[in-house]
């Protein structure tokens, strides 16, 4: 293992912020794995730390293939994590909206540039990231339609789903998007925790990465082969919203099969305790995402369901 300082930010009031990369194996830059870019992405840091532990052992055992190298960057934003903030500590900007970065620009543009110049020439890029809304997903590989994305390759993770959605203007400054522009085959891996550690879901993500590296002949590692991934397009999911606001009592978890008409949740009046809305599933399907705030706004998206033809 080689520890490398990728970027250092000086500060008058705090210890310097150091972004570190941990690399394994020698030769061709095969895969780069990036964890937290936001201060609340602790699950992402945890997953990276576990991968570093495993790669260290694999390297010792000579199981990183000849002429292949791996680098893991557990966090690009320890400053925010250390003060329990999601976005950048001073100006609240989002480092994952600053790529490819600019080394003469604003602070977070410089941070992004410092990371990007170290990660942009790998063959594969894997990012552990989080969604802007509080909630849980079925573990999946997420990709944007950029013209460069490779769905078949994404299935090598063996996660239950490969999810693709349309790219929007604000996506063009994410790490994933810029990796793809620079011809790195990039994947974002979502698990169902962000600001807490979910060990079981972390294990699933770790297994998925090891599976991917094994199938693409970067490491030698036999593990559970995972699933035959199902490919889904964002627009085919069925969104379920609440029309009213109140306390959100959720009845269905992710990865649960639901039948049309099943009660997914109730919205309770916070003063009287009476139900003001009962949220029913509009289709047969599988719960892909659910929100998990205790209280919700009206119009809030609560569930996303993968429709299925289940007749039983």
């Amino acid at each position: 293992m080689e520890e490398k300082l990728l970027f250092e930010l000086d500060s008058v009031y705090r210890d310097n912020m150091r972004i570190k990369g941990f690399s394994f194996g020698k030769g061709e830059k095969s895969v780069c794995i990036v964890g937290a870019t936001r201060g609340n992405e602790v699950q992402q840091v945890y997953i990276c730390s576990q991968l570093i532990k495993i790669f260290r052992q694999l390297e010792k055992q000579g199981k990183i293939k000849e002429n292949k190298s791996i680098m893991v960057v557990p966090t690009a934003n320890s400053y925010s994590m250390n003060i329990a903030k999601r976005f950048w500590s001073t100006d609240n900007t989002d480092i994952n909206r600053m790529f490819p970065g600019y080394n003469l620009g604003e602070t977070t543009q410089r941070i992004a540039a410092g990371v990007f110049e170290n990660v942009n020439d790998y063959e594969y890029g894997i990012q552990f990231t989080s969604f802007y809304m509080q909630g849980s997903f079925i573990p999946h590989v997420r990709m944007m339609k950029t013209g460069f994305e490779n769905v078949e390759l994404a299935k090598d993770f063996g996660l239950p789903y490969v999810f693709r959605r349309e790219a929007r203007p604000y996506d063009t400054t994410t790490l994933n998007y810029n990796w793809q522009l620079w011809e790195t085959k990039a994947f974002s891996v979502y698990t169902n925790a962000t600001d807490s550690i979910d060990v079981a879901s972390a294990r699933e993500a770790i297994n998925a990465v090891l599976n991917f590296l094994n199938k693409n002949e970067i490491i030698e590692y036999s593990c559970h082969q995972g699933y035959v991934s199902q490919f889904i397009e964002g627009h085919t999911l069925v969104n379920v919203k609440s029309n009213v606001s109140g306390i959100f009592i959720r009845y269905k978890d992710v990865n649960t099969r639901v039948t049309k008409g099943d009660t997914l949740a109730e919205i309770i009046d916070p003063h009287t305790g009476l139900p003001v809305d009962t949220i029913k599933s509009p289709v047969n399907g599988i719960v892909f995402f659910h929100a998990d705030q205790p209280v919700i706004y009206s119009q809030a998206p609560l569930y996303r369901i993968i429709p299925t033809d289940d007749l039983y």
């Binding site: 000086d10 500060s11 001073t90 003469l104 969104n239 606001s245 916070p270």
Partner: protein, 309 residues
């Protein structure tokens, strides 16, 4: 006439409402009136537009018979942000100016964005007033995406600002309110002026004079107006950026909107612990300082000034 253009229920006994005030001619509407919309408060920490909304209406009401068209005033597109001193949309931590045109079926921010667009469509001109952020002080200016320069520059010249900055287009900016409206044929000017969390009254008065001049040109106002000043117009190539090379406390030694010569000292970055000067910042070229750092604490990369050659 106060109207609610979007409302969303909040969890505990509160409704979020986006409101506008519509002023119409005393004689009523014949259906052919022009309409100007003044919007502000997308970023909850930018307050300069609050005074403009007030002062514009105060002057109209002083001479109501001169009003010949429709004036729609939207003081707070992000009312929760303004009330809680939050730049983005509270609870979502989302920049509201990155979610337009929004969607009727989206989450709360997207839903509101789509309602706002739906209400603004068809205005003859929209003026979207911003106030920089808490870090930088800006001279009254209009920022125009080069894609819409032909349509917007004639309007921008009327609204009595000091400066018009025509900037290149970037994909990420396609989700702003102004881009969304301009792309569907509703001309929208973005004004930047002053500094976050403060009101600079003379800038507000200056812009209100300009809005009246524009309303007169559009046939919305028949009263007396002051002749707008002639703005400097520039493109990206003429603007240079100065960023901090080290962290510390920035103390400027130039005044905002004053000329500097190449080699002049712009300011110093001080170290309060050691008593040393961490960095002395010099102008790289002759020009005028139209953006100047207001918030003293800086880190490496913080924008210190923008200079127009």
């Amino acid at each position: 006439m106060i109207q609610t253009i979007a409302s969303v229920g909040l969890p505990i006994d509160e409704t979020l409402m986006i409101k506008k005030n519509r002023l119409i001619p005393q004689s009523g509407l014949n259906g052919n009136e022009k309409r100007i919309s003044i919007v502000t408060g997308t970023h909850g920490d930018e307050l300069e537009g609050q005074y403009v909304c007030f002062e514009l209406q105060r002057r109209i009401k002083e001479n109501y018979s001169a009003l010949k068209g429709i004036v729609d005033v939207y003081p707070a597109l992000n009312p929760l942000g303004i009330d809680s001193i939050t730049r983005g949309i509270p609870a979502f931590d989302l920049d509201m100016n990155r979610i337009f045109p929004g969607s009727e079926n989206g989450s709360m921010p997207e839903y509101i964005a789509s309602k706002i667009i739906g209400d603004l469509i068809g205005s003859d001109v929209v003026i979207d007033i911003h106030a920089s952020n808490i870090f930088l002080k800006e001279i009254p200016q209009v920022r125009i995406n080069e894609l819409s320069r032909d349509v917007l520059v004639p309007y921008a010249k009327l609204i009595n600002v000091d400066y018009i900055w025509i900037h290149s287009s970037a994909t990420v900016l396609e989700s702003t309110l102004a881009y969304s409206l301009n792309s569907i044929g509703t001309p929208t000017l973005v004004v930047e002026m002053g500094v976050g969390m403060r009101i600079t009254k003379n800038y507000g008065d200056q812009l209100v004079d300009g809005i009246f001049a524009l309303m007169k040109e559009l046939g919305i106002w028949s009263g007396e107006t002051a002749a707008p000043k002639t703005p400097i117009i520039s493109e990206d190539g003429e603007v240079s950026f100065i960023n901090a090379g080290s962290s510390g406390v920035f103390l400027p030694s130039v005044e905002h909107w004053k000329n500097v010569k190449k080699g002049d000292c712009i300011g110093k970055i001080l170290n309060p612990l050691t008593g040393e000067v961490n960095e002395t910042i010099f102008a790289q070229n002759d020009g005028i300082v139209f953006t100047l750092r207001e918030y003293p604490i800086v880190s490496e990369g913080s924008l210190i000034a923008r200079i127009l050659a």
